[in-house]
Symmetry: C2
Subunit: 336 residues, 2 copies
């Protein structure tokens, strides 16, 4: 589609623009980009690249900036996805070796590390419980009218919730409940906690419907509710020149303040290993000025969390994708 020199020119423009945040002139490309021709020739190439939609101009006599299509081509065809230094590798490795007791913690650490290495803002979210099998449910009495339910899933996720009652319950009831729920739910997908189960339990334990009901309600609630969203390095974005525009800064705060938007963003379309959405490619129009790069942290095919970077369209895709690939590999490697 594009001849070799056009590719080189496009790549040079994208990288120059990522570095400087200024429209790139034909002159700027004659140095340090391995292009053995004059600015006039580059102008001709740029003109054609603009005609085919890879470049934009901010005004008639300005230099060029990459269009969304230009960034897309760069990301798909031109970038170096091994743009990561030895120090960075060492640093990431040491961070990921931190011993954690909960899976969510690991996702948080990974997100934090990515933010530190790339200097962009990251968001992360724990695994969707609904995609997993229930391995065990434990009920523990915490007083006469309070109980804790601990749910273990097959991928090692632990969810706990407190349940309060309007009447006293005793150890014996808890034992029965423990037996009933486990009997019926062991190794079942979480959707099993539904009508049939409720009816079964109501039938078996008619005498204590006042106890069963809040339990089922609360368990459903805790399993279905969206996980907490963790945000790292929001202030780092504000150092970027694009955030000198109040419009952009405001949009950004709106985005990170709207939990639903972030959750949507992290959960949407996962065809690839690593997903890149550039500017207007995002479905939500609030995100049109930003680019998003996400990946799911998986172990043995089970999803354990999603991490995303949100930054300007002029994001350092090479660095970001390299770091994400490395961390993704590392996380999948540590099958523990």
């Amino acid at each position: 589609m594009l001849d070799e020199r056009k590719k080189k020119v496009l790549q040079a423009i994208v990288e120059e623009y990522i570095n400087t945040a200024e429209p790139v002139s034909s002159n700027a490309l004659t140095q340090n980009h391995g292009l053995e021709c004059s600015s006039a020739t580059i102008r001709n190439e740029m003109s054609e690249l603009e005609k085919s939609g890879f470049l934009d101009k901010t005004h008639t006599s300005s230099g060029r900036i990459p269009s969304a299509k230009g960034y897309r081509y760069y990301v798909d065809e031109l970038l170096n996805d091994n743009d990561i230094s030895l120090e960075e590798i060492k640093y990431i490795s040491s961070k990921l070796e931190t011993k954690v007791n909960e899976i969510e913690e690991l996702t948080k650490i990974a997100a934090n590390t990515i933010s530190e290495v790339t200097h962009y803002t990251t968001v992360s979210i724990g695994p969707k419980a609904t995609a997993q099998l229930i391995e065990e449910i434990k009920f523990i009495l915490l007083g006469s009218r309070m109980m804790m339910a601990v749910i273990l899933t097959d991928s090692g996720l632990v969810k706990e919730t407190i349940i309060k009652f309007d009447e006293d319950i005793n150890e014996k009831q808890v034992e029965t409940i423990n037996y009933m729920f486990n009997h019926k739910l062991k190794n079942q997908p979480i959707e099993t906690i539904d009508r049939p189960l409720e009816e079964y339990l109501y039938d078996e334990m008619t005498y204590s419907i006042n106890v069963i009901k809040p339990i089922i309600e609360q368990i459903k609630k805790v399993l279905e509710e969206d996980n907490k969203i963790y945000l790292e390095g929001a202030n780092k974005s504000f150092e970027l020149p694009e955030f000198n525009s109040l419009e952009v800064a405001k949009n950004f705060v709106n985005i990170i303040d709207t939990k639903e938007l972030i959750a949507d963003m992290l959960n949407s379309g996962f065809a690839e290993d690593i997903n890149v959405y550039i500017g207007e490619e995002n479905e939500k129009k609030e995100l049109k000025d930003f680019s998003i790069v996400t990946f799911k942290h998986r172990v043995n095919g089970k999803e354990l969390g999603t991490i995303g970077i949100i930054g300007p369209k002029r994001m350092d895709y090479s660095k970001v994708i390299s770091v994400m690939k490395y961390i993704n590999k590392k996380l999948n490697g540590n099958n523990k």
Copy 2:
């Protein structure tokens, strides 16, 4: 200290400035502020108020704005702390009646409600576990090398944590651990989990130091660690005119992104019911352009969480303090 008319003038200026965000001119005060005199007289009063430090000017021929001292006088002496409508009371009441299973949840709801009613950004944090007595600790085996510890305190706080081991443990060991810890810790302050306890446990259970050690470490960690900080309505602040200054907006993002700063802010000096820090009164210089209003949510003298509003110095103190007082009263009333 100030005669009646000066008070009236100061109050009018503060309120006018809170409404308009523009320096207040002598002319503006001749209408709708119950001041029966000409602008010239008001100019004289303003000039004296400025001399005594209650007012500032942005430049020689500008109107006046309140100084920190002016705001302070207003907050201490002039404001109406019952500036809350029937609708607001109804709305707040309905929100606070939501049934919750965890105390932290209630603090979050209260903070969310305050943000909704006042249109400012709120931050909240759960109770410090270290200030409480341990009522009970339960240990539950969650697999051969994993355990959960659930700690109940006297004010109803429940903290749970997962502990992982490098060796297998069995139900019998868990029972012993349950007995040991409860025997020694029941109704003790949390600081008890310290050297003497460790030594006692090591003596009693020398055979399983590999088990006791991670338990104590993890329990200490979870009890000492700062609670999660919840942020509500960060985007609302960005609608205020002071946030058109990039400097201010950047500072704000820095503040809300720095968890330690917020935790400090929420935990500092609590002489009063409701604490107001105006601009430079804040110890941290990052906060010099902002005002902070905080209160602790208590039940029977036990602290259950802290909620703060962070907004511009030109904050609607009347509304904010009225709403906080009302919510504080409501929360202390619901002794459940």
